[in-house]
Each structure stands twice: as C-alpha cells, then as structure tokens.
C-alpha cells in the first residue's frame, strides 16, 4: 500500500451533489425556509421588534390582531404584564435558539471527544463508556434543578444541564461510528507508516466520523430546545425580564382560559422550531445514508 492510497481514501464520504439532492426535497425547502426565517427574525430582533420587550404598562391581555378585540398596534397582543408579545417572541426565540445551540455545541463537542478517545484508545474505552452510562442515567431536568439550586437560575445553568444531557448520546454515537472507522485498513496503514496519534485522530478518525455525528446533532438540536424550554417552563431558566419561549409559555398559564394567546404563541414557536429542526435532520440523514442514496 502506498501513501497515494491513503490520500485517495480521504476526504471521505463527502457525497457529490448533496446540496442539490437536499434542494430538490420539498420538505427540506419548507422546513429550512421556516427555520431560516425564524433564525433571521430572532437575530434581527433589536431592529424589527416594534417595542421594547421589557416595557410594561401597555394594556394587558390584548388579544392578537387577527382575533376579536385585537389591534394592529400589537400584532400578537400583549401579555399579563402589559408587554408587547411580538417583541418578546422575537427576543425569546433568540434566547431559546442560543441555549439550544450552545447546549448542542458544548455537549456535542465533549461527547465527540469522549467517543473518539474511547474508540481510539482501547484502554480508555471501559472507563469512558461507564462514565457515559452514569451520565445517561440522570435526567436532564434533575441536572437542571441541581445546578440551578447551586448557582441560581439563569441561562448558564440551563446550558450546562443541556450540555451534560447531550454528552452521553453523542459519545455513544461517535464511538460506534469511530469503531467502524477504526477497523478500516487506512487506519492500520496510517499507524504502519508511523503517523502520530494526533494526526490519525484528527485527520482520519475525526473527519470520517463527523458526518454522521453532525446528522445526529441536528436531530438532537430539536430535543435540546425542548428540554431547555421545559426547564425554563419550570422556572429554572432565563432570569426575568429576559424573554425565553419556555418561560413565556409558563407565564401565560394563569390566563389560559381567557387570554390563551400568551401561552399558545410561544408554545407554537417552540413547536415550529423543533419540528423544522427534526425534519431537516431527517432529510439530512436520508441524504447522507448510503443505502438510501443508492435507491
């Protein structure tokens, strides 16, 4: 085996025409379109929000403009503290997406490192995987409660809880992918020609795993958002007056019978984000899965 062979087997299953295939899928177009709009709107919140999201004192419980009693001044109505719901929704989406992204980023990062180390260094495999099993047995909500009790509620404990909750699944998926890659001849060849562990792990093992892990993380993103919103719903999340979708949904509970929009609108936003993220993840997996591709 020559070094050319090694080079030719990288960069790895980067399927040609992936984007084109994704673009021809109507689900991807719809879900992606919605998600891009949501993300863009939340990023632009400071510029497009009609009111200060923290400004109280407008009339409370105004229904959305499209409902009876609504006014075009407040397109989505006001909440029980008399704040503009649309402005809060835009800022709240920003916070929710950010907690989800950071949770997936940190948790996913740690999970990938653990999974790859476990697969590459056989002696680390048992301790790492048992540690992961321990993590797996703690529900994220419990972590959130414990962390919030120690450092006080806020965005940070939520992100920590979400990250920890993401680690075990990602580590397991990464390890199983990495174990397959490890059995490839090019890994053995790399070792034979004396490539350093670092080089092998990053350039060959890591890059070969990242595709399927990325798909997994996309799917995981929706779940993380959901757990984050649940924690925030329980009052462990964002610190008032900061808007966060789960918290907004919780705040509207008291008024559910006569001002349902306060709770349902943020809940719908969570639903849309999670649904679109899941659909995109599914489509991405289908597009990357070689068996599906051959069909």
């Amino acid at each position: 085996m020559t070094s050319t062979d090694i080079e030719s087997s990288t960069p790895l299953p980067r399927p040609v025409g992936l984007l084109r295939r994704l673009a021809s899928d109507s689900t991807v177009l719809i879900a992606g379109g919605i998600l891009v709009t949501i993300v863009a709107a939340s990023l632009l919140a400071p510029f497009i929000a009609p009111y200060d999201p923290y400004e109280t004192g407008y009339a409370p419980f105004i229904p959305p403009a499209f409902m009876e009693g609504g006014t075009s001044e407040f397109l989505l109505g006001t909440d029980q503290q008399g704040r503009d719901l649309l402005s809060r929704l835009l800022y709240g989406t920003q916070a929710t997406l950010l907690t989800g992204l950071l949770g997936v980023f940190f948790g996913g990062g740690a999970g990938v490192v653990l999974g790859i180390l476990a697969a590459y260094f056989k002696k680390f495999d048992p301790p790492i995987m048992r540690f992961v099993d321990v993590l797996l047995s703690f529900p994220a909500i419990l972590f959130g409660l414990a962390i919030a009790a120690v450092i006080g509620p806020g965005i940070v404990p939520i992100i920590i809880a979400l990250s920890i909750a993401t680690v075990p699944d990602v580590a397991r998926v990464t390890r199983s992918t990495a174990v397959v890659v490890m059995s490839q001849e090019y890994m053995e060849a790399g070792r034979a020609i004396g490539l350093s562990d670092r080089h092998l792990i990053i350039r060959y093992l890591g890059l070969n795993c990242i595709g399927s892990v990325f798909v997994f993380l996309t799917l995981r993103f929706g779940q993380v958002i959901l757990i984050g919103a649940a924690l925030s719903f329980l009052g462990l999340g964002a610190r008032p007056p900061m808007a966060e979708l789960g918290m907004m949904a919780a705040q509207g509970r008291d008024a559910l019978f006569f001002a349902p929009h306060i709770s349902t609108i943020p809940s719908l936003a969570i639903f849309m984000i999670v649904l679109c993220a899941n659909m995109l993840g599914d489509a991405l997996r289908d597009a990357l899965d070689p068996r599906m591709r051959n069909m």
């Binding site: 923290y54 400004e55 109280t56 004192g57 409370p60 419980f61 029980q80 503290q81 008399g82 704040r83 409660l145 919030a148 009790a149 006080g152 509620p153 009052g235 462990l236 610190r239 008032p240 007056p241 919780a250 705040q251 509970r253 008291d254 008024a255 559910l256 019978f257 006569f258």
Partner: protein, 522 residues
C-alpha cells in the same frame, strides 16, 4: 334474605361515607406537633385536633373563651389566671385538667423542645396548675400580646401520656388532643385523616354549633398543582379548599355547583423589603421614589384578576392597633412624582437610560422565591422600576435554598409574605434589632423602635399598646423600608352541597375549628 340484610346494611353505612369531607391543599407539614410545627399546613390541622385556652373571633380582634371559661389579669399585667371548663375530654376519653394545660404550655416554652416560636409565649416565669381547673400564667414582664398568642396553634393543649408513649413519633404517628376532631392516620405528603370527636361540646362561642362537629371525617389531601386543585373542587373530589389559583375564582363564582366565601379582613401581606444599610438602597429618597414607582393597583388587577387588595401599608388597615395617622404618610403610586424626586436628588440618567449614583448605575439585587407567585410579582416590580430608570436584578431561588440565601447580607432587596394577627405581632417580628439578620432582613436597627416595641409589649392597657405600636408604624412607613405589594384576603371555595361556611383568618387557616362544616340539608 341474607342479600337483603347486606343491602340494608350497606344503605345504613352509606350516609356515614357521605359525611366525609376532602380538603385539598398545596403542601404538607413535616410533623403535627403544636409546639414544634410552625407551618400553616400544620396549624390548619392542629386547630381541629386540639384546643387553646382562648379563641379568636372572626374580627381578629376579640378574644373569646375556649378551654378557659373566664380569665383575669392582675393589675401589673404579670399574672393571668384562667378558669377552665370542667367538661373537657381528650380524644381517648380522659378528662382534661389544669396540669395538662400547664404541661403543654411549659413544653412549648422549654428550650429543649426547640420551638421556633417560643418567643410568642412572652417572658414566662412559670405556668402553674393551682387546682384541677385553675391555671396561673406568670410573666416576668408584662406582655400585651399574650392572649392573642395563646389563640395560636402553638398553644394547643396535648396529652402528656400520649406524648410519653409516642416520644419522637408524637404528631407523626399519633396525637391526643381535646379538639373537635381526632387523629386517624397521616401519610406524609399524601393525606391526613381526622375523624369526629363525638364527645366534643366545648367549641368556641364564635360558632353557632359548639360541638360535636357535623361531619364524620375530614381528609386533608395534598395536591401540589393549583389547577388540579381547582379541578378537584369543580368535579366534587374535594368539597372545600382555600388553595385556589387566582384565575379560578371567576370559575367558582359562576359555577352553580360551587360557592366562594370571602373574608374582608386580609391578614397575609406580600412585600418587598430593602436592606437599608446596603449602598444600593441606603438613600431614603431613592427608596421613596422606588416605592412610588410601583403600581400596586395594576399588579392586583393584572396579575391577580382584582382578587387581592393593593397594599400601601405594611399591615392591613383592619388589623389590631393599626394607626390611622399613618394613612397620610402612605406612599401612593405616582410615576411622575417618583421621577421628579429622583431628578431632584441628583440621580441622573446614564447613556443606557438607567439612573446613576456616584457614576455607578443603580441596580439593586433582589432575592426571592422561584415559582409562579414571586416570579410574576418580581417581574412586575422590575418593570415598574425600569420606568424610573432603576435596573432591578432578580435572583429567584428554589424553596429549598431560598431561606438560607435570605439569611445572608448578599442582597439589596428581598420578597416575603407573612400572616399576622396584629400590629404588634408583625412589628415585633420584623423590626426588632435583635432579629437581624433574619427575620429583620432590612437591618433596621433603631434604639427608639426597640424601646417602643418593648413598651408596646409591656403595656397593660389597650391605649398604651396601640400608641407604642402606632408610633413604630409611623417610623417605619416614613423611612420607606418596604414596598408593600398586596394583602391577600381569605377566600374559600366550597361545594354547593355544603351549608354556607364562614372564613376565618387566624394564621391563614380559613376553616379554623371546622365546626360549621356540614352538608346542606336537602
């Protein structure tokens, strides 16, 4: 034949089952020992399991007889002599004597009992059973609050033999009192079952029915979720409860199967306190402006659907020894005036719109409870304070850690709510310098206040007591040490199948002795 007998037997038993009442509530107590439990959840049950020497009328001001038929107070205010009823029996049938009363009260005071509310008994020299039916309560200093404190569940008389038998399990596995109901079984965090004390005839005169109780059994059931409690009442799983979400009162009023009883007196007050020696809030003008900025009316209307009373005073204006002179000093909502006060005092707005003091943004830290009540309350105040350029930072903690956090000096403001029976009760708790750092979390240390509180406590006449407490009320209201938020009135929802009941306010226990609970006659 046999079947017919069985049917008739079950028919006979049916009314007894129908005589059971389920009361749903939010939390349980850790135990039901009158001298060691201070939770409202414990008092609710203890008022029914036991009796006190004297009772409190619905007006929260008049002391009425209970175990004591009559009593006299010596002119120096140091000796109270109680003449006991002779017909009182414990649940196990044993007659109650003066020595049981003396034993119970001394157990409350005994430092070994570790009662958190020992101070409520006053400075006691001794409690003596003069004869079988006379009790002498001797003080080392006069204590004008004594009779009011003796109406509380902490002064419930218990049977010492049962206590000796159960030891640490007293109030956990059993109880023996003289109340209208007797202990059946307690499963912690689930339900407390009590049954009628059939021999009971010595209820307080505030009740038309002085005994025995008119239902066979009361089951106190824990249902933590407020909307589930409301649903339990609406569907008839529970017949009576005072733990109803604010959004549910409207439903209860409009539903023909449920009724709502409201008491005008509201003796449970929600407030935010300032730690007055912290650099963020040690300026009196700043505090006045902050109090002025808060819109209690809007809070009551928007967050509580108009079901609570906006509070501008630190105690209910209906409470014993409220000082009407303070009324002129109460700080009412006025946003423009608040901004003017701050402008004049030189708290200029910085580039971010928030006011500054000595070049530093004014951002007091608030510590409070997490959960639906304080979250929205704190957020509303935060919103109001933003309008005058003050950036309140909220830190809300879980119930398990918040008490520890509130005992520190880390915060500038805190949120709290409390029940009280009188001005003296409230002021002695919160404004004594000896009570720093908790419950005097304001760090209010004032020699004159302490002196007046002592004078009020030692007063032997109503006038002297009212004058002393009245002056303290003036002092603390003028210094703007609290932002009063609202007074929570007692409201009890109950099934239309029950005869009308009356709500009491004692320690926030709306059903008090439960002697008026009965099914309406068809």
């Amino acid at each position: 034949m046999l079947a017919a007998a069985a049917i008739s037997a079950s028919l006979a038993a049916a009314p007894a089952i129908a005589q059971s009442i389920t009361v749903v509530r939010e939390v349980d107590s850790d135990r039901y020992d009158p001298h060691r439990s201070t939770a409202r959840a414990a008092s609710e049950v203890l008022f029914m399991l036991g009796d006190t020497l004297v009772s409190l009328d619905y007006d929260m001001k008049t002391i009425k007889p209970s175990l004591a038929d009559s009593w006299t107070v010596s002119p120096d205010g140091l000796t109270y002599t109680f003449n006991l009823r002779k017909d009182v029996k414990f649940c196990d049938g044993k007659p109650m004597k003066a020595e049981d009363v003396a034993f119970s009260l001394k157990r409350w005071i005994n430092p070994e009992t570790k009662s958190p509310v020992r101070w409520r008994a006053g400075k006691v020299e001794d409690v003596i059973a003069k004869d079988d039916y006379t009790v002498e309560y001797k003080l080392t200093a006069p204590y004008s609050e004594l009779l009011y404190q003796l109406t509380q569940s902490f002064a419930v008389v218990i049977d010492k033999d049962t206590l000796a038998k159960l030891g640490a399990d007293f109030g956990v596995k059993g109880f023996n009192g003289t109340g209208p109901f007797c202990w059946v079984e307690w499963t912690p965090r689930n339900e407390m079952k009590i049954k009628r004390h059939d021999a009971y005839t010595w209820g307080p005169p505030i009740y038309e029915n002085r005994g025995p109780a008119q239902v066979q059994e009361i089951v106190w059931k824990i249902v933590p979720e407020e909307n589930t409690r409301l649903a339990a009442l609406m569907t008839g799983q529970s017949q009576v409860t005072q733990y109803i979400p604010y959004s549910g009162f409207r439903t209860i009023r409009s539903n023909p199967n449920t009724k709502l009883i409201e008491s005008k007196e509201a003796f449970w007050t929600y407030f935010m306190g300032f730690k007055i020696d912290k650099s963020e809030v040690n300026d009196e003008t700043l505090r006045r402006a902050m109090v002025m900025a808060v819109d209690q009316g809007a809070i009551a209307k928007n967050l509580y659907f108009g079901e609570v009373q906006p509070a501008y005073s630190y105690i209910s204006q209906q409470a014993l020894d409220w000082n009407p002179k303070v009324e002129a000093d109460l700080i009412k909502t006025n946003l423009a005036e608040a901004n003017k006060l701050l402008d004049e005092a030189g708290f200029k707005k910085g580039p971010d719109g928030f006011r500054q003091r000595n070049g530093k943004k004014i951002e007091p830290t608030f510590y409070g409870f997490t959960g639906s009540t304080w979250q929205k309350l704190a957020e509303a105040v935060q919103g109001d304070l933003r309008k005058v350029g003050i950036d309140l930072k909220l830190q809300l903690f879980d119930a398990t850690v918040v008490w520890g956090k509130l005992a520190t000096q880390e915060f500038d403001m805190f949120g709290m709510s409390y029940p009280y029976i009188s001005a003296g009760d409230a002021l002695n708790l919160y404004f004594r310098s000896a009570n720093v750092p908790t419950p005097n979390r304001m760090n209010w240390k004032d020699a004159k206040t302490d002196q007046l509180l002592d004078r009020g406590m030692a007063a032997t006449t109503d006038d002297v007591r009212a004058a002393a407490y009245g002056e303290v009320l003036e002092q603390v209201h003028k210094a703007a040490v609290w932002i009063p938020l609202y007074h929570e009135p007692m409201k009890i929802g109950y099934s239309a199948k029950l005869a009308p009941i009356k709500a009491h306010n004692i320690y926030g226990c709306g059903l008090y002795k439960g002697l008026d609970i009965k099914f309406a006659s068809k």
